[in-house]
Symmetry: C2
Subunit: 178 residues, 2 copies
């Protein structure tokens, strides 16, 4: 750790080549893949939250757009092909330095199955969603809003912050911006 010239904060600096590795928030991109009203979820085969259900999503990589990243993660985790539509939810997770971007999307066919990071992949109707076995608050909140907006014919962006409360409680509160 060194303070680079002209900077005010210590940064990770390579002692071999002098490269500075700035740490900035990472973007997680993913899909809400829909097929005849049902939503595709993946059961996690990796930590954190092994064995719990989530939307296909992962870290955006250099050289791709967020929509391309969302489609790539859906292919990797669920072997599923999607047409990616508009951004549906955008959440800040400042306690873990992440932004989640989840896109509306349409599953193109029923030829899907678990990738390396999934134990199982299946479609869930609204009444079948395993609410108590969802991996992350951001997924739970996105799905809850999505079904509610769908019932009301809405199609706008939902944006907010998911803030972890102090201590070891794993409790969160959610500040919506709209």
């Amino acid at each position: 750790m060194q303070v680079p010239q002209g900077d005010s904060r210590p940064r990770h600096t390579c002692t071999a080549c002098g490269a500075i590795h700035y740490k900035n928030p990472k973007v997680v991109v993913g899909c809400i893949p829909e097929w005849e009203g049902r939503i595709l979820l993946c059961k996690r085969a990796i930590e954190p939250r092994y064995g719990l259900w989530t939307l296909p999503a992962g870290f955006m990589e250099n050289g791709e757009t967020s929509q391309q990243g969302a489609a790539r993660e859906t292919l990797e985790e669920a072997n599923a092909r999607v047409s990616v539509d508009g951004l549906y939810s955008l959440f800040n997770l400042p306690h873990i330095d992440q932004i989640y971007m989840l896109f509306r999307s349409r599953l193109l066919d029923l030829d899907f199955g678990p990738g390396e990071e999934s134990l199982e992949v299946r479609l869930f109707g609204e009444e079948e969603i395993p609410w108590e076995q969802l991996a992350f608050p951001v997924v739970r909140e996105t799905l809850r809003l999505y079904f509610s907006d769908r019932a009301n014919g809405g199609a706008f962006l939902r944006s907010g912050d998911i803030v972890r409360e102090p201590g070891e409680s794993r409790r969160y509160h959610i500040n919506m911006h709209d």
Copy 2:
């Protein structure tokens, strides 16, 4: 550069402590600060694009939300206080591994002035915007859409990709998602 265990790509790895520095896209957050119909722009005092005009924006930092980052950058670059509203434009810039998020915002008072990274800060009416002296395509496109949407009473998210064309031409094309 080493391929970490369980990974498939070479990553920047610290030979002293073993830390792996993954390279992911960075998020640039900023404001479209409005005061009685005019927009606050900053004349850049730093490279790249020294001397050209831009919206107040910069890299999102760990531990903050995107809205907090947008307000912080506006304070740092223009000494201006804003109330941050909804996200207006969201652009992928895959050729430089960035995502731009620019927020509608209202300037809270007229007590502003250049920060360390700005030569000058001022309000511009739509007819005064220095279109030929804007620093970045993403700023030009955002302002163009913003004035057009404002004239039509629109208030929705604009999302797209700004893709640099091959070669040294500094030409770009824009794929809007909506």
